[in-house]
């Protein structure tokens, strides 16, 4: 029931992910951040097996940092995406990671980009992408309303439309979402969309 989706706009890329950590019928927490800031100008939105998700994305993050120290310059988004895919591919026929990833990044030379990387090491450079049951609704919504070169406002509006569609049409829809953006000024959290806030504990 995990929903991750993203799109590329004019000089930026945006990704949104649900924030529920679920184990069978129990919701552990509803503010789990599944979008990792890979480096100053890259975001990894991941969904799938929670242990694999954290293990794999942290592993990629540290290797990307190591590359930067060794070589004095950061990896391009394309290089990071290919490296990620390679790691998934190598593990695939031994001990596969069940993690689906949307990698969003901004490079000075080539601008914003979004990469679709699924758990069996498929790699596609896309303008919009989505994973999970939510993808049935968000992809359809984006197909209808997306156009290249959207502004941040238009993109956020589209993201909100997708979230509304997921909330109303998916049977066990996740209540809360986090939205992160990456542009020339770097990768950062943009907003949360919460419909269920953890109740404050009453003081004695």
């Amino acid at each position: 029931m995990e929903c991750v989706f993203g799109l590329v706009g004019n000089g930026f890329a945006i990704v949104a992910a649900d924030t529920s950590a679920v184990h069978s019928i129990l919701v552990h927490k509803s503010n789990e951040d599944k979008i990792m800031i890979l480096d100053s100008h890259k975001l990894i939105a991941a969904s799938g097996e929670s242990g694999d998700r954290v293990q794999f994305t942290e592993y990629i993050q540290k290797n990307v940092a190591l590359y930067q120290f060794r070589n004095g310059i950061p990896l391009t988004t394309a290089a990071a995406a290919n490296f990620t895919r390679g790691e998934l591919a190598t593990a695939l026929r031994k001990n596969p990671y069940f993690v689906n990833i949307l990698l969003a990044g901004y490079d000075k030379e080539t601008g914003p980009s979004l990469y679709y990387i699924d758990y069996i090491a498929t790699l596609h450079k896309v303008d919009k992408g989505a994973f999970g049951y939510g993808s049935y609704f968000s992809l359809a919504m984006m197909d209808r309303h997306y156009h290249s070169g959207m502004t941040v406002e238009e993109a956020i509006d589209l993201v909100d439309k997708c979230i509304m569609e997921i909330r109303s049409r998916l049977v066990v829809a996740p209540p809360n979402f986090v939205i992160k953006i990456v542009d020339k000024d770097g990768a950062r959290e943009y907003a949360w969309r919460e419909s269920v806030k953890d109740a404050e504990v009453a003081s004695a």
Binding site: A65, L66, F69
Partner: protein
Amino acid sequence: MARYDRAITVFSPDGHLFQVEYALEAVRKGNAAVGVRGADIVVLGVEKKSTAKLQDSRTVRKIVSLDDHIALACAGLKADARVLINRARIECQSHRLTVEDPVTVEYITRYIAGLQQKYTQSGGVRPFGLSTLIVGFDPYTGVPSLYQTDPSGTFSAWKANATGRNSNSMREFLEKNYKETSGQETVKLAIRALLEVVESGGKNIEVAMMTKEHGLRQLEEAEIDAIVAEIEAEKAAAEAAKKAPPKEP
């Protein structure tokens, strides 16, 4: 095959490890390097031997960063340095991955020193021919540190130290002139120590400073020249002052 298992570093009858001592000789022939710890800053300076005209000097970086908050300079065999620096960088990221914490300066120094020691007690290998000066800030307390390691694998913390060519003269200078400094004063002290043994000029020294907020920053040649000019002016003024007093009754 069996021949290469034999240890190269063995004890001499009077308790010396000659290979380690020869490695220290290699360090003594390497370029001069100095490190100074200030209240809120750490400074590394390295002698730059005159670059060949056709060489691209940007590719010869003598002060390197191991992590966002740790930097290293060394004296000795530069090729050996590459190996140690690579291992240290991997360890910095590996530490972050396993314990979700950046390394402390002491941890990474202990790691590098441990590596250097391993190569004095293994078959078929020789010791690393370099001493390192490692600087950085504690990731949580923000306290600055300076450490030194040598080919034998010993390490210790210092307020200021020098290694490589003429390190004794630089250390003597530092012992005489060290005082608690911060900011630009620390940079000046490091450069003054280097100028004791190096031809003056921004072309011959590479200087980098690290602060908690801004991380490692290499000083531009123009900046170094400006500080060197300040130092020369101060020296000249001190000389003049020495000569003047006798005239005043």
